[in-house]
């Protein structure tokens, strides 16, 4: 395991506990007084093999339905007209908005960031506001921005910002500044428009449920990877490997076994063989996933590029997905040694997103997909004594996609005068609930009032062209 000293103890402990809470849903000690429970806590989880989709899923919230019903539901939904797709990518820990787009043209930048300030020429200039430059690792996003496919919110958040990872992330996940809300904003959208028998409509590309997808009426699913059903053996290849794979089936197909346990084991062997054959299109060959991508995704230890590549393949194959949520790679709670950690996390994230967009374009499905990238807050404008930054307020978010209107969402408030609040944090110039409301109405085609509490009190930035 890699050890990172940068993030605060509270963050790692909170992550662990959130994970456990979302799975078990009971009896965990609070991290902080009044800590909200993650959306989806306590949802019953069942393992399920979607034969029509060819994937092994953990399904949440479908306790009344038989598993065959879910299979049929997925098949029916796949036959229906394609729906708009929203992908939510979370940068965990509070990504530093003043590095993501660094205000090298602001006179206060170097005073506030004597050690961490990036060189003016290090990253590409942000063409909509020349005070700002893209972090060098985000050059792939600058490329997409140049093509008009990225909308940037340089200082997004909400009034009275909460600097707890746990609480602030919860607000973003549930789409409201309400600690007690237990459903995710995308889960409520799916409750409004989804079907009772298609768990793929809300898909966590993770081994546990992503809280934004927590629903109450319709089932949603979690999937660690679409490619993970290959059978490989050491020291076996070529013709012999093909024969070996065929032999798995024959081990499972011995009809005359007197022993009931052996019969069951043989039946599972036979089912696994059938499934393997069905999943050949998604199979991993050695270490390289075979998703039929014509573009190259970054080669890294992280699952993130592989998950996006699998997602592109699933969308192109016509699987009935609507909302997908996953975490970006990297650690963004950069209390110390920020420069390296931030650069490496952002690099894999941005390169993977560019590859994903190119993949969608090559497969002819880019017009159906919008990706939202967000973090729970930004970081303090002034750096701390450990070459890092502490929790702040205004953060950055991106919308990416061929149909996205590539223009600023709110402006960069600057680092002088009214740009910083009393605590020295960047003020917000856009509310995340306004972005959610616009996405719901302009992209997903549902009235925001049905999903976001008090939606009419927020503006509606134009996000989709």
């Amino acid at each position: 395991m890699s050890e990172r000293a940068c993030h605060c103890d509270e963050f790692s402990r909170a992550s662990l506990l959130r994970r456990a809470a979302a799975e078990a849903g009971s009896g965990l000690p609070p991290i902080e007084p009044g800590m909200p429970l993650p959306a989806g806590t306590g949802l019953h989880r069942r393992a399920f093999l979607a034969r029509s989709a060819g994937v092994a899923l953990a399904v949440y919230g479908a306790s009344k339905l038989g598993l065959n019903a879910l299979d049929e539901g997925i098949a029916n939904a796949a036959a229906a007209p394609a729906q708009p797709v929203l992908v939510s990518i979370f940068l965990p820990g509070g990504a530093d908005s003043l590095s993501v787009l660094y205000p090298t043209g602001d006179p206060n930048y170097r005073k506030l960031r004597p050690k961490l300030a990036l060189e003016e020429a290090a990253g590409p200039v942000f063409t909509e506001d020349d005070r700002l430059h893209w972090h060098p690792s985000l050059a792939p996003l600058a490329t997409l921005h140049g093509e008009g496919k990225v909308a940037v919110a340089p200082a997004i958040g909400y009034t009275h910002p909460d600097q707890s990872h746990f609480t602030s992330r919860h607000f973003w996940e549930v789409g409201a500044t309400e600690a007690n809300l237990r459903t995710g904003w995308l889960g409520r959208y799916l409750d409004a428009v989804g079907t009772a028998d298609n768990p793929l409509q809300g898909l966590s590309l993770d081994d546990t449920l992503q809280p934004p997808l927590a629903s109450t009426k319709v089932p949603v699913a979690a999937l660690a990877g679409a490619d993970d059903y290959s059978f490989w053996a050491p020291g076996v290849w070529g013709d012999v490997e093909n024969r070996m794979l065929q032999a798995i089936g024959s081990l499972g197909k011995r009809p005359s076994r007197p022993d009931p346990t052996l019969r069951r084991a043989a039946a599972v062997t036979s089912q696994a063989d059938t499934l393997r054959r069905q999943l050949v299109p998604f199979a991993t060959l050695g270490e390289k996933p075979n998703f039929g991508s014509t573009v190259t995704y970054p080669q890294t230890d992280s699952d993130f590029p592989k998950r996006l590549a699998g997602l592109a393949a699933m969308l192109a194959a016509g699987l009935p997905l609507r909302c997908i949520a996953l975490n970006a790679p990297g650690e963004y709670d950069t209390h110390a040694n920020q420069a390296d950690d931030l650069a490496s996390g952002l690099k894999v994230t941005a390169e993977s997103i560019l590859a994903f967009q190119r993949d969608l374009e090559a497969r002819g499905v880019a017009a159906r997909v919008v990706t939202l990238v967000w973090s729970e807050f930004g970081r303090r404008a002034a750096e701390n004594g450990s070459a890092g930054t502490d929790h702040g307020a205004g953060g950055s978010a991106f919308l990416i996609g061929s149909r996205v209107r590539g223009q600023l969402i709110g402006e960069f408030p600057g680092l002088g005068g009214s740009g910083l609040d009393r605590d020295g944090n960047l003020v917000t110039t856009a509310d995340f609930r306004a972005v959610y409301s616009s996405l719901l109405e302009q992209w997903l085609g549902v009235e925001a009032e049905r999903v976001i509490p008090n939606a009419r009190s927020f503006g509606r930035p134009a996000l989709i062209s």
């Binding site: 053996a233 076994r257 599972v268």
Partner: protein
């Protein structure tokens, strides 16, 4: 306590059929982690009675074989590194010469299923594990008393949150439902509440650096009032609480049936169960006596097979191959197979009926590959170009597990077909090695090998 009114009690049958390598192999998988090379043959020579006693009364608990390490050759850090706790135990399963002692620890880990997910302290989990190892074949009364005040258990089931001012029913309920009586067997919701009162008095402190510390019984935290449990009245304490469960008429049947289920997959017939109950009670709640009777019983040798739990499968495969713990991969592989040691899914433990599905089948396939990888035959090896000889060689290499005729035939058909693909001289040279590697993989992934 059950009145000794059963006339035919002490006659528990002993298996009298042939005790060959095959029966010895099953016994070693059920009561341990499978045979090392040659071990089944040796055990078969003892006959069933002495074979069982050699397991229940081992003369050494010494570990044999190389010390465990991670892939970089570093020592395990079970208290600090994630997943090393399970590896530490897996190593004991692989190297032990007293396999039933480790297997009983696994039984108790499932019976009193405590997860580090709720405890958050590998130190306390390993302490509980030591209890299971040291007390696992002794008196169940003593084990029950010790697990009731075990720190990991006190944290896991809120035992040290249970005090006279705010009783917590968590432990009281599971004590009866899962540990001693069984759901709906002779206790009421009021008994749960009253037992919770009896169990008050444990507490611990919290230290910023070490977490939970100073577990102790504090009479000031105990509810000293009169309780009414199972219709009896008294100023019961936690010791009484355990005693009342043990003396409950439903306990012996629950105990022997549950214990039997770890070794034999079909329920004991009624006379067998009653004889086991009598043995259990008359021996003073002695676990070893009951285990010996179960391991000698004809049902173990004549009844259907059982699916090997993942930890047993992994440890057993490494034993058969003569390989120690030299990678941390077993942590995630075991998890994918559905069993991460020290992390049972809930207080009811693992569900032994659900080890095999398409996802865990693939995990078992991967596990086989990881276990076999260091022993890969390279294509430079000269191997026989005869399908039957290749099957025999691969079979011998993985410890000669008993295979059904159907599996044996499928393996030979595969070898024959794969050899016939060799239509060039380099293929005729190289394919036999590949085929033997594939045969090892297929044997260790076969339905026969998943069960015992």
């Amino acid at each position: 306590m059950r009145a000794p009114d059963i006339p035919w009690v002490s006659e528990l049958p002993t298996y009298r059929g042939p005790f060959t390598r095959e029966q010895a192999e099953r016994l070693l998988w059920r009561a341990g982690f499978g045979p090392r090379k040659g071990e089944a043959e040796k055990l078969a020579k003892l006959g069933v009675r002495r074979a069982v006693t050699s397991l229940t009364r081992p003369d050494t608990t010494r570990l044999v074989g190389p010390a465990p390490k991670d892939e970089k050759g570093r020592r395990l850090a079970p208290l600090d590194a994630w997943g090393h706790d399970g590896l530490w135990w897996l190593d004991r399963m692989v190297r032990t010469r007293a396999p039933l002692v480790e297997r009983m620890a696994l039984v108790w880990h499932d019976w009193f299923a405590t997860s580090n997910d709720g405890v958050g302290s590998p130190r306390l989990m390993l302490r509980q594990n030591r209890l299971f190892r040291e007390r696992g074949l002794g008196s169940f009364r003593r084990l029950l008393l010790e697990i009731t005040c075990d720190p990991a258990m006190l944290l896991w089931l809120s035992g040290s949150d249970n005090n006279r001012w705010s009783p917590n029913e968590n432990y009281a309920r599971e004590l009866m439902e899962l540990f001693t009586l069984g759901h709906g067997h002779g206790y009421t919701e009021e008994d749960v509440r009253q037992q919770a009162r009896a169990l008050t008095g444990f507490r611990n402190d919290w230290s910023r650096s070490s977490g939970p510390i100073r577990f102790r019984y504090d009479p000031k935290y105990h509810d000293g009032g009169v309780k009414r449990v199972f219709g009896k009245r008294g100023r019961f304490t936690w010791r009484d609480s355990c005693r009342l469960c043990l003396e409950h008429p439903a306990h012996p049947a629950f105990f022997v049936t549950k214990l039997w289920g770890y070794f034999v997959p079909v329920e004991p017939a009624r006379p067998t169960r009653r004889a086991l109950e009598h043995l259990y009670v008359s021996s003073g709640y002695n676990v070893r006596s009951v285990v010996e009777a179960i391991l000698r019983h004809p049902a173990l040798y004549l009844g259907p097979r059982m699916v090997k739990p993942p930890a047993v499968l992994i440890a057993g495969t490494l034993r058969a191959l003569g390989r120690g713990i030299d990678t941390t991969a077993w942590t995630w592989l075991s998890g994918l197979c559905g069993q991460q040691l020290f992390y049972p899914p809930n207080v009811a433990g693992w569900d032994d009926d659900r080890w095999l599905d398409t996802a865990t089948f693939r995990a078992r396939w991967q596990t086989a590959g990881y276990a076999l990888r260091p022993f890969n035959l390279s294509t430079k090896n000269q191997r026989p170009r005869n399908p039957d000889a290749l099957v025999a060689s691969a079979h011998r290499f993985v410890g000669r597990p008993t295979l059904t005729p159907g599996t044996d035939a499928a393996l030979k058909r595969f070898a024959k077909a794969a050899l016939s693909d060799a239509n060039a001289s380099w293929k005729r040279d190289q394919y036999p090695s590949l085929i033997e590697n594939a045969l090892r993989q297929l044997i260790v992934s076969s339905p026969d090998y998943q069960t015992c």
